[in-house]
Every structure is written in structure tokens, then in C-alpha cells.
């Protein structure tokens, strides 16, 4: 009861009051944010409660994926924009972060060049390309993490939504976009490390990326970002603006006829989603230690869609659950039965689209409703008997 009162005092609180699943999710994430680093840093190795560092990194990776899935669910689940190129925004954010980390290496590279990253020395470049300027500054880089995906999403979305490219067509040109970027980033002349991408990072803001403390902090930041992004997305979809988004999803022409500028609504939510994806990428790169053009692969983008679909589209928390569950299954099965994994994943998609159109979340709600129904029908009977 006390809890409820606290919630009522703030806007966010009122938002969460109506969102029970979201409250649980945030509680779990916040608990993980505190407990996982504690169990890694304080517990002695070999203790029952000790969390090994690789698990921390793995969990951090899952949370980055969860953030990415959240970004996609915002546009797909609530606005019907199925982007098959969301991996591109993720990768761009990752590259912006990677460029900063590259500049931080400084003289510790293989060639010991203070100004140029190793791959540029290798290509016999003599000076830094102009678009690398400023990335030695952390805040500028963080700004670019959000700006680059936002600009791409703005230009792309402005063109696409204005000409009313919708549905399947939009999906396919987003796929073309990420494919074109994949090809572009593979080129050495682009100045992003070509095939190998950016790697061999040393530290971030002076903290070694190899140390447990840095890894724990990055994990905590990822968890916090998911929480904040969740709240932001929930705020967007619960607002009046969010209702228009849902209207666009369900009947775009009708919404337009009612006088709403559909393309503006879509564009805004698309850009927000791209920024979230970019942030996810920026958090991902220091944790896994590499960013390469493979992240632009169309298959990666389809996988994001799969996470959301399996978790439950249009629920936000479903996206988070889906991303973590599918990736956990992937880690487990590729380790334990590598042969079976693709069979499993493939069957999972087929079954989930055929029988679970609302994903894991849908199954849980359905079960709960059924139980409630049973209770509702059984109570009067008992009453009649007695």
C-alpha cells in the first residue's frame, strides 16, 4: 500500500502503476544491476554466490540485445514499422564507440603511432580522415553515438514515410540499407578498419577494459539503460501520442484521414528507436571488445525481429524477455549441441508464428486468463452447492 502511494506522486510512478509486468521487470533489472557486480567483486572465487566475470560479460551482452529489442518493439509493436535493418543503427552506435576506443589506444598499438589507429598505419595512411576528428573526446563520441543513427534514421525515414512506403516494401528497403552499409564498411578505403573492424581496445576513460570493475560498471550501465529505455518507451506508448501510433499501426489510412500527419509520428518514433539502438551498440562494443561489419548483416537484423516476436510483440517487456531468452538459448545450445541449434531456432520461429502469435508473454497472459476464468466459473458453483 505504501508503494502505491509513492508511485502516485510522480508521472513515472503513475505510468508504472498501470504496468505490473513492467514493475517486476524493472525490479529484476535493478536487482541484477546491484547484485551481479557485488557477487562478482566481493564474493570469493569458488563461493556458491560467486558470479564469474565471463557471466557478467555475457549478461551485459544480453542486456544490450534487450535494449535493441526494446527499440525495435517500439516501432514494430506499436507503429507497425517492421525494420529489417535495425542492426545498422546498432552497428553505427557501436562504430562510434569503437572509434573513441581506438583513439584511446594511442601509442600502445602495434605500430606505436600516437595519432593513427593500427589499420591506418598498415594501409600507409599518413593522416587521420576528417570524420575521425573529435572522437578522442569521450563526450563528443557519446554525442555521435546518438547523432549518427538519428541522422540516418531521420533521412531514411523522412524519405520513406513521406512517400508512403509501407509494409513489406519498407521492410525490404531497410534490409537494402543495412546491406549497403555492410558492403560499404567492408571496404578498406572507408577508414573503418574494413573486414577486421575495430578491435584491440585498451581502456575507456582511463579504466582498463580487462578489469573486473570496469566490466561490472559496464554491466550496471547496460542494466540501467534498459530500465531507462523501458520507462521512456512506456511513457511514449502510454501517452496520447502513443495512441496515435497504435492507430497508425492498425489503420494507417484512416488515421491520416482523421487529420494526423502520419509521417511525422512515424518519423519521430523511428528516430527515437534508432537512437536507442545506437546506445545499445555503444554499450555492446566495450563489453565484447570488437565491432566489425558483420554486425550490419541482414541476418542479424532479422534475428532482432525474432527476439521481439518470440518474447511478445507490442508489450515492451516481452521484447526484453525475448532477447534474453533467445540469446541464452543460443549460448547454451551452440555450446552443448551446435548441430541442433539451428534446427531448434528454426522450429522455434515456425512454432511461435503459427501457434504463439503473441510470444512468450502471450502464453503467460493466456494461462492466467484461463485460470481466472476457471476460478470465476468454479466460485459460483461452490456457492450454489453450499
Amino acid at each position: 500500500m505504501i508503494n502505491t502511494k509513492i508511485f502516485e506522486h510522480s508521472a513515472i510512478g503513475r505510468l508504472l502503476l498501470a504496468d505490473k509486468a513492467g514493475r517486476y521487470l524493472i525490479a529484476v533489472l535493478l536487482a541484477a544491476m546491484v547484485l551481479v557486480p557485488l557477487c562478482n567483486l566481493i564474493m570469493p572465487e569458488g563461493s556458491f554466490l560467486y558470479v564469474p566475470t565471463y557471466v557478467v560479460v555475457l549478461l551485459g551482452k544480453y542486456l544490450c540485445y534487450a535494449l535493441l529489442a526494446l527499440a525495435l518493439d517500439l516501432i514494430w509493436g506499436y507503429c507497425g514499422i517492421l525494420s529489417l535493418g535495425h542492426g545498422a543503427f546498432f552497428a553505427l552506435g557501436g562504430y562510434a564507440m569503437g572509434m573513441h576506443l581506438m583513439r584511446q589506444i594511442g601509442e600502445r598499438g602495434v605500430y606505436g603511432n600516437a595519432e593513427l589507429p593500427d589499420f591506418m598505419v598498415f594501409l600507409n595512411w599518413t593522416e587521420l580522415p576528417w570524420y575521425w576528428y573529435g572522437f578522442d573526446n569521450f563526450f563528443f563520441s557519446m554525442f555521435m553515438v546518438a547523432l549518427v543513427p538519428a541522422v540516418l534514421a531521420f533521412v531514411f525515414g523522412w524519405l520513406a514515410f513521406r512517400s508512403r512506403v509501407t509494409g513489406v516494401y519498407l521492410s525490404i528497403i531497410t534490409q537494402a540499407m543495412t546491406y549497403a552499409l555492410l558492403l560499404a564498411f567492408f571496404r578498406n578505403d572507408m577508414g573503418f578498419g574494413g573486414n577486421n573492424g575495430l578491435t584491440d581496445f585498451k581502456d575507456i576513460l582511463g579504466f582498463s577494459l580487462q578489469s573486473d570493475v570496469t566490466r561490472c560498471v559496464l554491466f550496471a550501465l547496460s542494466a540501467l539503460s534498459v530500465v531507462l529505455a523501458y520507462v521512456l518507451c512506456r511513457a511514449i506508448v502510454s501517452s496520447k501520442y502513443g495512441r496515435v501510433l497504435v492507430a497508425i499501426r492498425d489503420a494507417e489510412s484512416r488515421t491520416r484521414f482523421m487529420g494526423y500527419r502520419v509521417e511525422h509520428f512515424k518519423l519521430f518514433v523511428f528516430v527515437v528507436s534508432a537512437i536507442l539502438a545506437g546506445i545499445a551498440g555503444a554499450l555492446y562494443v566495450p563489453q565484447v571488445g570488437i565491432i566489425n561489419p558483420g554486425e550490419f548483416g541482414p541476418i542479424n537484423s532479422i534475428e532482432i525481429v525474432i527476439w521481439v516476436a518470440i518474447g511478445g510483440r507490442g508489450t515492451l517487456f516481452g521484447a526484453v524477455i525475448g532477447a534474453v531468452a533467445v540469446n541464452y538459448a543460443k549460448t547454451y545450445f551452440t555450446g552443448a549441441f551446435p548441430e541442433v541449434w539451428l534446427f531448434m531456432l528454426g522450429t522455434l520461429f515456425v512454432i511461435s508464428t503459427l501457434y504463439l502469435p503473441k510470444g512468450i508473454v502471450g502464453v503467460v497472459t493466456q494461462m492466467r486468463e484461463r485460470r481466472a476464468e476457471r476460478n470465476a466459473t468454479s466460485t459460483p458453483e461452490q456457492g450454489a452447492e453450499s
Binding site: G167, L342, L354
Partner: protein, 550 residues
């Protein structure tokens, strides 16, 4: 011994005759094998250079079947004789000495120690003679290809001593292409002479040909050395070379355009083949079939299996593979339609996910059955080689066949859809399902057949792809995006649009490549399609009327 002595006298007499008449005379006819053996064995005993030259000329002008082989071996230093019984042998180095083969009988004599054979030595003078004789021998060969190769070799290494041989060959040459090459070879020789008139004449004779060697020689004349002087001192020669070069280049430019168009059309045909099946499943039925690429992969693997099944008939296995791949992919397609897609009509984004799942399953199935490694499918012999039209333009047969093949597939498909009863039903169902159903068409079966047809055509595309790339589990993925681009660019539901889109994208790609490189060209094409979709959101040839509505 006596016999041999008499023969030697004969040889010397004959050769005296030749040296007066030039190298070429009427053929020396050796009537028995013993005579041939005698002549060849002279190589062992001939010691002076002049004797050897005469002997070489004699062998070259004889009707000996092994004359080219012997002379080639002599030039390459592979002609030896055994010390014990003075047998003339071809010798190839071997760890234990030499692997020898009798010249006269062709019999394999096994391996022999280093010290048991002696080489038939030649000097530089003999090498020069041998080069001329061998060139002439190939110029007189009955095989057009060999004559052409000999003429091309002469173009590359012009030397004055070949000129008489070239002139003689020109007199009897029947093939126009060989004759052209011989003319160029003669001109190349003349270009090296010191008479201005001969050189100008030679340059003039390059006009109208497209020989790349001639072009590089002419271009070389325009270069300056480090002191700023032209390497070609004679101004008149240099200027006329520049004039002819410009003309040759502009002509070559035209052929380059033709060649690029041809490459573009062949790339377009590959795109067409891969996209036309999708034009049915995606374009006509509205199903986003992410497993389309895997249908192509299945077709490619079917080709591989057929080839394994009939290893002695590789040339024909591909013909068998076409219907087989159609059936395999088509049946798999029908199973997918009945099992999964049927439940998802009208929900295109869900079919995308489900068929993506199917594609993963198929990939892993192939990986488990055939191993994740690439398989190689060998090309039938009639697909290799090229149709050489002139020096600047040659069209490879596999590209030519793929253009024809893709057009045949497209025409058959159009025929099937427009002129057959099944096609009529398919069109009816896609235009108005409920009405078709009420007219007694079993829409369920028509759906399955249509999807099977699209998948089967993807399988046929896989047969073609097996000839172009490695056959591996990821084969389909590399083509799926291109296929979608083609269908969307052309306009969904329009086979002509697909055809037009495939060809224009293929040609555009090939014309961009020289300026931008292959990867950048592809990026340009993708960006172009993205922008194009903004302008015409329904593709190049959009359907009009009611069926457009979502």
C-alpha cells in the same frame, strides 16, 4: 654401319639442296619405319652444328609423325640417347636419374641412372633455328587453333628470321582469323626494321585490327624516356602510330561497351533466374518467402547429387539436374505451403518470420547431411570455352548459355501462366480468392501448386548457380537480398517488370564497375533502389486497380 653411312651422304646432299632453296621444300617422304629410325638416329651421330641444322630442317620437312615432339624435346633439352645401345629417348628428370621413353617406338623404358644416358647438345645458333622451324611447323598444322596459337606467339616475339615462314604461311592460310594474326605478326617484325617505309606500312596495317599487343606497341612509341625525349626517334612513324592508335582505341571502346552490355545481361540473367521464382511466391501470392534462397540451395545440391549419381556422364548430368531440381525444390515448396504458409495468408510479416525459420532448418539440414564445406560441381565441357568474335570481343559460352536459359525459363513461365488452364486458375485465385473459390476452383491446391512452381523455379536457378559459385549451405543467403530488390524494383506481381528490373540492374552494375569497383557499384545500385522506391513505392511497373490495395 655401311647403310648408315650411305644415308648420311643422302642427308647431306638433300640438305645442300634445301639450303639453296630456303628452308621450305617439298616434303621428304619416308616410306618405312626403318627409314624414320635411321633419320632420327642421325641426331646421335651428327656432331657439327651445320650437320645438326641440316638434320633439323630435314626432320621438320619430313612426314615423321613425331617430328614436333622430337624438335620440341631437343629445344627443351629433353632429348637424350642411351650409352649402352644408342637409343634415342625423351628423358624427364626423376629422383633416381631419368624417366625415359623411346622416341622411335614410344615405348616406356622406365627409370635409368644419370650416367647411362647422354644429352643431345644444342647451342644458341641451333636454338634459333629450332624456334623458326617449330614456329613454321605449328603454322603448317592442320588444327586451326594450333595455327592461331603459333601466330599469336609470333606476334609476341617478333624476330626477322620468322618473316619468310610467316610469308609462306600467309600464302596458304585459309582461316581469316589466323591470316589476320599472321599479318599482324609480319607487321610486328617489319616494325623492328630500320626502313621507314616498311615501318609506316606496318603501322598502317594495324588499322582496322584490334590486337592488344599491337596497341601496346603503338602506345609504347608515344612514351618519353627520363630525359624527356621520345623513345621513338622517328617523328613521322610516331605520329602515324598515334593516329592509328587513336582509331584502334575508339574501335576497341565500342567493343568494350558491347562486352560490358553482354556481361551486364548475363549478370541480369542470373538475377532474373533467382528473382523470377520469388516474383511468383512474393509477387503473385504476396508471401515473403525468406526460404527462397534455400530453395536455390536445394537445387544446387540436387545438381551435385545427380553428378555423383552419374559420374561417367558429367556432360549430361546438368540436363538431368534441371527437372530433378525443379521437382525437389517444388515438392519442398509444396510441403512448406501446406504445412506452414497456408495458416498465415494475409499476414505477410508473420510469413517472413516463419519462412526464415524454415530457411534455418533447411540450411542446417544440408549442413548435417552434406557437411558444412562447399561442394564443387564440375562444369560440362560444352559450357567452357568462348566465342571469339575478334581481338577485342569474346563471349564466354557459360554466360551466353545462362542468358538463353533464363529467357527460356521466363518464357515458359509466362506461357504456363497465360496459356494453360492451371495458369488461368492461378491468376484467378490471386485476383479474387473468394470468387475463384465459388466458381469451383480448389483454391488450396492452386495455392500449393503456385508456391511449388515458384520454389521449383528457384531450384532451377540453383542449377545455374551451381555452375557459377560454390555450392554450400549459405549459397541462398547471398542471393536472397538481390532477388527481393529485383522484384520490388520491377513492381510486385509483374513478370515483365521483374525481367526489365533484372536486366537493367545487371547492366547498370557492370557499367558502374569500371569506375567504382564491384563493391561500390553494388552499393550505388542498392542506394538507387532505396531512392527509387521513394519515387515509385510500388515499383517500376506497378499493378493498377483493385488488387493494389493492401
Amino acid at each position: 654401319m655401311k647403310h648408315s653411312h650411305v644415308f648420311r651422304m643422302l642427308v647431306l646432299t638433300l640438305s645442300l639442296l634445301f639450303s639453296l632453296q630456303g628452308v621450305q621444300a617439298e616434303q621428304v617422304v619416308l616410306e618405312s619405319e626403318a627409314d624414320s629410325a635411321l633419320l632420327l638416329n642421325q641426331l646421335i651421330s651428327a656432331s657439327s652444328t651445320s650437320d645438326k641444322i641440316n638434320l633439323i630442317n630435314l626432320i621438320a620437312s619430313s612426314n615423321l609423325s613425331q617430328r614436333s615432339a622430337v624438335l620440341n624435346a631437343l629445344q627443351d633439352g629433353q632429348l637424350y640417347y642411351t650409352k649402352s645401345d644408342e637409343k634415342l629417348v625423351y628423358a624427364i628428370t626423376h629422383p633416381d636419374g631419368y624417366q625415359i621413353t623411346s622416341v622411335i617406338s614410344g615405348e616406356d623404358l622406365g627409370v635409368i641412372g644419370n650416367r647411362k644416358v647422354r644429352k643431345i647438345s644444342i647451342n644458341n645458333e641451333l636454338r634459333a633455328v629450332l624456334r623458326g622451324v617449330l614456329a613454321e611447323l605449328s603454322l603448317r598444322s592442320d588444327d586451326v587453333a594450333e595455327r592461331l596459337k603459333a601466330a599469336k606467339d609470333l606476334i609476341r616475339s617478333p624476330a626477322a628470321e620468322f618473316l619468310p615462314a610467316i610469308e609462306r604461311a600467309k600464302a596458304v592460310e585459309t582461316s581469316a582469323r589466323v591470316l589476320e594474326s599472321l599479318n599482324i605478326a609480319a607487321a610486328m617484325v617489319n616494325l623492328n626494321s630500320d626502313q621507314q617505309l616498311l615501318r609506316l606500312d606496318a603501322i598502317e596495317s594495324f588499322r582496322g585490327t584490334l590486337d592488344t599487343d599491337a596497341m601496346s606497341i603503338l602506345a609504347g612509341m608515344q612514351l618519353k624516356d627520363s630525359d624527356g625525349n621520345y623513345t621513338e626517334k622517328d617523328d613521322l612513324v610516331r605520329e602515324s602510330a598515334a593516329a592509328v592508335l587513336t582509331e584502334m582505341r575508339s574501335k576497341a571502346e565500342i567493343y568494350k561497351v558491347i562486352e560490358n552490355t553482354f556481361f551486364g545481361l548475363s549478370l541480369g540473367s542470373v538475377l532474373l533466374l533467382t528473382a523470377v521464382g520469388l516474383a511468383i511466391t512474393f509477387g503473385v501470392m504476396g508471401v515473403i518467402n525468406m526460404a527462397h534462397g534455400e530453395m536455390m540451395m536445394l537445387g544446387a545440391y540436387t545438381t551435385y547429387v545427380i553428378q555423383l549419381l552419374m559420374p561417367n556422364y558429367i556432360d549430361y548430368s546438368i540436363i538431368v539436374a534441371i527437372p530433378a531440381a525443379f521437382l525437389v525444390s517444388g515438392l519442398v515448396g509444396i510441403v512448406i505451403e501446406r504445412g506452414i504458409i497456408r495458416h498465415l495468408y494475409g499476414r505477410p510479416l508473420e510469413t517472413l518470420l516463419a519462412t526464415f525459420g524454415v530457411s534455418l532448418i533447411l540450411q542446417q539440414a544440408v549442413r548435417s547431411i552434406f557437411s558444412p564445406l562447399n561442394k564443387s560441381v564440375s562444369a560440362p565441357s560444352w559450357l567452357s570455352g568462348s566465342w571469339e568474335i575478334n581481338g577485342a570481343l569474346s563471349l564466354t559460352y557459360n554466360r551466353l548459355y545462362i542468358i538463353i536459359f533464363s529467357l527460356v525459363v521466363l518464357l515458359m513461365l509466362v506461357f504456363l501462366l497465360k496459356k494453360t488452364f492451371v495458369g488461368l486458375q492461378m491468376r484467378a485465385v490471386t485476383q479474387n480468392r473468394a470468387m475463384a473459390n465459388s466458381m469451383g476452383i480448389r483454391t488450396g491446391w492452386v495455392d500449393a501448386l503456385t508456391f511449388g512452381l515458384g520454389s521449383g523455379i528457384a531450384g532451377i536457378a540453383g542449377v545455374a548457380l551451381s555452375q557459377l559459385t560454390n555450392v554450400g549451405p549459405n549459397l541462398g543467403q547471398s542471393y536472397i537480398i538481390d532477388s527481393f530488390m529485383v522484384v520490388v524494383f520491377g513492381g510486385v506481381g509483374n513478370l515483365f517488370g521483374t525481367f526489365f528490373a533484372a536486366m537493367s540492374l545487371g547492366v547498370a552494375n557492370k557499367f558502374l564497375e569500371p569506375f567504382a569497383g564491384a563493391v561500390l557499384a553494388k552499393i550505388f545500385v542498392l542506394v538507387f533502389i532505396i531512392l527509387f522506391i521513394q519515387w515509385r513505392p510500388r515499383g517500376l511497373f506497378a499493378l493498377k486497380g483493385r488488387s493494389v490495395e493492401d
